[in-house]
Symmetry: C2
Subunit: 483 residues, 2 copies
Amino acid sequence: MLEQVDVDKKMTKEEYDKKMDSLSVKLGELQRKCREQKIPVMVIFDGVDAAGKGTMINRMIQFLDPRGYRVFSTGKANEEERMRPYFWRFFTKTPERGRMHIFDQSWYRGVYEGEISEKDAVEFEKMLIQDGTLIVKFFLLISAKEQKKRLENMEKDEDTRWRVCKQEKENNKNYDACLKRQDTMLVHTDIAECPWVIVEGTNKLYATCKIVSTLVSRMEEALSRTNNKSEELPQQEPAEDCFRNGVLHGIDLSKTMTKEEYQKEKKKLQKKLRSLHNQMYLKRLPVVLAFEGWDAGGKGGAIKRLTQAMDPRGYEVVPTASPNDIEKAHHYLWRFWEKFPKAGHMAIFDRTWYGRVLVERVEGFATEKEWKRAYREINDMEEQITNAGGILLKFWMHIDKDEQERRFHEREQIPEKQWKITEEDWRNRARWDDYEKAVDEMILRTSTENAPWIVVEGNSKYYARIKVLKTVVEALEKKLSEM
Amino acid sequence: MLEQVDVDKKMTKEEYDKKMDSLSVKLGELQRKCREQKIPVMVIFDGVDAAGKGTMINRMIQFLDPRGYRVFSTGKANEEERMRPYFWRFFTKTPERGRMHIFDQSWYRGVYEGEISEKDAVEFEKMLIQDGTLIVKFFLLISAKEQKKRLENMEKDEDTRWRVCKQEKENNKNYDACLKRQDTMLVHTDIAECPWVIVEGTNKLYATCKIVSTLVSRMEEALSRTNNKSEELPQQEPAEDCFRNGVLHGIDLSKTMTKEEYQKEKKKLQKKLRSLHNQMYLKRLPVVLAFEGWDAGGKGGAIKRLTQAMDPRGYEVVPTASPNDIEKAHHYLWRFWEKFPKAGHMAIFDRTWYGRVLVERVEGFATEKEWKRAYREINDMEEQITNAGGILLKFWMHIDKDEQERRFHEREQIPEKQWKITEEDWRNRARWDDYEKAVDEMILRTSTENAPWIVVEGNSKYYARIKVLKTVVEALEKKLSEM
């Protein structure tokens, strides 16, 4: 893409002033409209060294209302970032709906440095775009000669000397080779939903003007799509009863265990877990445990038997309630990314991102398109966790309808358990069949080798708790022995 | 405080089980009540090495609903934390109203290591307590002999060996001296609103029980205070017209500047600022610029002339709107702490924490007690920024009533400026005198040597912008020359 570009395109000050006069007003207007329409915007700046990313960003933001944007400089990862999956620092920086986030460097640095693949980058963008985000990608280009001149000028000035490092001078010498690599990356990640915009960077007036006018037209496009959205009919999808694989029907809920066996096993497994928790901290292994299940299915009890054995400085229980205002204004996975553990730590999720394909599907909080898309999005996200070297185990705490009823009544009768049972629990129960269908499809579509679902036979609390403890202990032992 | 403590207090398993049976139910109940009453709770654990802080925290949280608490391990500061004022990492971790945050180590480590004073620690607590937070401070104590035994046991076990460092063995040898230092600290920071609770740590059953029962009684106390609150009459305060110092009346608003002078000066000052911004990054100087002023007083324009000259990767403009749900659920200073710049960066606040003594005072969003307390709280906070080596400049953009009216009308007439003027602006204008009184008192009470107010004569936009630029440039030059 880059070879044919005439980097020296020019613009006079008069042309610039004339164009920018109307463009700048328009940009401000569009920013306000995007806010009203709740469109999140991400603008990323990449390019060759010394191409003027900082200058361009600064010129652009002078036309924006500071109440609506933020600039992120995402060059080198910091301590906290290095201890999490690669996309953590970008996912947590996605804008609230209606806001604009501007990135000086982006996940493409990760592609360039081999930390993620081109496909990862594109999948990340597609997911956000499908969620309504407008992403605009600029690549700033100058010639080898211009680059050399700029680096020399920067070195001459004592204020900017520190910005020129050895690597940059090196890159300048190998300009052609570097460019080729970048070109390949651009070609592979130039998708229809979000094409690269190459900005000829020699003349800063021209570059600024191209950036602002591109942004203006992309924002106009995004707004017109939003306005037409209501007219679009949801696509007709095939009936899904064929997906019904009856996972849950095959579960043997008669499995049980005596109190004595339970206590003996529990003691033994908790002792092991205590030791393994220390080892995972030392070996910097991140662990995510995800708990889903029927109401009163025993999630809380199972989690408690895990946490009893561990040091609270090395684990966190993350309960998932309905999203708050800020969470609602982001992609539905954002709040979970925020909570992913750093290396050496364990996060235990009491209910999870699977809410998208369970409660949100059944109650109609997510559209059919949205929840169908979610399987893929979730698999991608989980892959990132395990690719970063982490363990991810997902438990479905399973009980039958009778057992649930028994437990609901028990909760109603014991005073200190009454707060645990609400009208909502009874309402959910009434939709058991819909939920069962959703659970079936979820387990089918998101059981992967790296992040398996473990269906826990839960009618016997003793049996269930031991199965969870044992599964965690065995997974930790296996992984740690390989590290 | 520590010398007289019988660290070996015991409790049998039967006594423990009996006591904890009712205590644990109560604790869960109180947690729910505190959530309903929106009382934020902070529980901090300090103590001698190997006294069992982790174990105690873990036992305590087994009785809590995970949807209501979080544990923070705040030993050594990380990269991000080291680049900000000391209390940043604690202020940003204060709980939302109704939630409980548990700290393994706290700001007392800062006291012990000489990073903050005992007074700083106490002032921080008092501020949160006045805002309705319940703080419970535990100090876990074991004898030198017991400590030695525990360290030896930890070293024997390969899982826990890594936890024992040289410092801890050293401290054990100098147990008496260490204890004396800690004792002094405890005595000096044992305030009526938040006394230290010494926990005899040898017997873990006894210790757990003491911790849980203390927590239960402190939560009960806090709840009874909240319930009685409505009956408390606000204290009668003396009239404040005596505070009226007429700062604003003395301002010469006729100061002006020609367009030519303005452009010449602006160019010169922006060039200097560009260079200084580089130097402050290199020397890791954090800078906070705070802008307040009448509506249409020229804040935005002045900020723009600053930002035009700087690299966007080194500054952030932070606009302050009315607080969102999450922000409302915290101390009013929390959201500003979140935004304080790290070393080498500049944060420019468009409206600030002074809203507490301006709009919140005038509109009655804060009670009289609350906004009167705020002067002291704000001075303390600002002192922390400047004590950490930062620059803090506060600008009041001043215009007179006629000039404001002229600008409002102008905004209404120019299409692309219409969004800038709302009904609210006219409403605020109607309360000009009340605001003037509030501004006068604010400037009087919060003008400190380290964080001065600069009243900017704003009727002439040219004059005002140059004054702001010049003030910033001179402050940076002065500070940087001393570094």
